[in-house]
Symmetry: C2
Subunit: 303 residues, 2 copies
Amino acid sequence: MSTGTRVLIGPDASPWLREAVLAADAIVVDDPQLAQAVVWRGSDHERLARLLDEAPNAALVQLGAAGTDAWAPTGLFDDGRIWASAKGAYSEVVAEHALALTLALLRELPRFVRADGWLPQAGTSLFERTVLVLGADGGIGREFIRLVAPFRPRVLRGLRHAVLDEDDRTLPLDEALAEADVVVLATPLTERTRGLLDARRFASMRPTSIVINVARGGVIDTDALVEALSTGRIAGAALDVTDPEPLPGGHPLWSAENCLITPHTANTLEMLEPRLAQRITENLRRFASDLPLIGVVDAAKGY
Amino acid sequence: MSTGTRVLIGPDASPWLREAVLAADAIVVDDPQLAQAVVWRGSDHERLARLLDEAPNAALVQLGAAGTDAWAPTGLFDDGRIWASAKGAYSEVVAEHALALTLALLRELPRFVRADGWLPQAGTSLFERTVLVLGADGGIGREFIRLVAPFRPRVLRGLRHAVLDEDDRTLPLDEALAEADVVVLATPLTERTRGLLDARRFASMRPTSIVINVARGGVIDTDALVEALSTGRIAGAALDVTDPEPLPGGHPLWSAENCLITPHTANTLEMLEPRLAQRITENLRRFASDLPLIGVVDAAKGY
C-alpha cells in the first residue's frame, strides 16, 4: 500500500483537482475517516464543517479561495487544524487586471468605447504618478508594484499598521490619500478594512484621483463612492468587486460614466485552475515532507 | 552680442517653444535670413518650404512630429539641411497607450463598459503570451517591450528586414503572425509598411489574436480589417490611428464590438509639450556643440 497522504477532495472531485492531488504522490479518498488532508473548492463552509466532524485525522484543510473573509467569522479556523488558503496563487492575474483597470481609467477608455465618432484628445499618463497601494505587502499588492515599476511611479505602501513612502517614512493614511493619483485596494476584507474608503477618506482625495478595487467590495463604502463620483470628489473608480455583489441592475454605479465595473473577473476560472492545481500539489508535497506550507491562514487575523 | 544659435520658431512661437529654445542658450529670431536653425510645429510643409527658401543659413530643421510620413514625399528631406524629427520623444507615453489598449482588449473591457448588469466572467491574461512587435527597433517598439516585460511574454521582434524570435532566429512574417497572440504595430508609415496588414496577413493570424495600432492608420488595410473583425478571423483590434483619419461617422469600425478606437490620443498635447520642449533644448545644445543630434531623419528611409 502506498504511503502517500490520503486526501479528500470536496465538494466535487473535478478531474483537474484529482490530478493536482495525484501529482503530489498523494492518494484520493472518499471516506472522511481516512482523510489526512481535505482540499475544498467553493464557499459552502457548513458542508465542510459537517465533513470535518467526521474527519478526525484531517490535519490540513486547503481552500481554493484566496480571500477568506466569508470563512473567518465561522470560527472554523480555530479548530486546531492547519488551514491554508490560495492567497498569493492568483496575485499575478489579479494585479494584471488592476493595471488594466488603472490604465483604462487614466486613458479614459470607457468614454472612447461609448463614442461612435472622433472625440477630442483626452487621457493622462501613468508615468511618474503617485500610486498608493493598500495591502502592499500582500501577494496582489507586491505584484502590482512590480508590474507598475516600469512607469517609475512614486509608490506609497499601505501596510497593516502604517503607510510608508518611498523612503520608508511613515505617513498618515489621509495624507497618503491626499497625495495619491491612483489608489489601489488589494487588502483582505476584515473588520479593520471594512468600509475603509468612506466619505471622510474620499474627502481627503484629489479630484483628479482614481480608485481601483480588486480586493473585496466591502473595503469601500458604496454609498460614499456613489456620492464621491457624482460630485466629482474623485475622478473615477474601477471595480472588479462590489458591495453588494453582484451589483444589482439599476444600481447608480451602472450609470456613473466615471465608473468602470467588471464582474469579479480578474481571476477567471481558466486562469484559476492551473494556478490552484499548482498550489495544491506544492502544499501536499510540503505537507508530506513536514515543510512549511504556503498561504497558511492566521486565525487571529482572519486571512 | 550673444553667440547663441539663432533660431526661428514657426509657424507660431508659443511661449513654451520659446522657453525651450532659450533654455539651450539660443536666440529666437523672426527674420529667416538670420536663422541658423528652424523649429517647426505642425504639418504645413508648403509654408515651411517657402520659409526655408528665404533661410539660406538654416542648417537644421527640427520638427515637432515623431512620424514624418507626410513630409517624406515632399522631397524636403533632400535639401542638404539636417532634418530632425521628434522620433523617440513620445515613445514612453505611446507605448503606455499601446499597453492600455492591449490589456483592455484581452480583459474584454469594452464589453464590460457597455454592460449595465453583471455579466459572466471573461477575459484572458497577458502573462506568457506571444507578442509580435512590428517596429521593435524603434522608440515605441523598444519601450513597449520594456513595459510588457514583467508579464514574461515571448517577444517576436519585427525589424525592417526580418522578424527575430527570442533566440534571434529569423522567421517569416506570416509565421510570426501565426504564432502571435498580440500584434503591436509601431512602425513608421513608408511605402514598405503601407497596407502591411492586409487580407492575406489577417488570414495568417489566429482567431484568438488581437491587433494594436499606435503607428499610422495606413499600416493596416482598413477594409481587410473590417472583414477580419466581422468574420472572426481575428478576435479584436484597438486603434489609436485609423485610415482614413479621423475615422468618419458611420464607418463600420465604429459599430464593430470587437474594435476599440481612440482618437489619436496616445500622446496628448499635455504629454507632448514637455517632451518636445526637452528634445528641442537638447538638440539645440548639441547643434551648438557640433554633437550628433537625436532623431535625425534618414532621407532615404523617409523617417
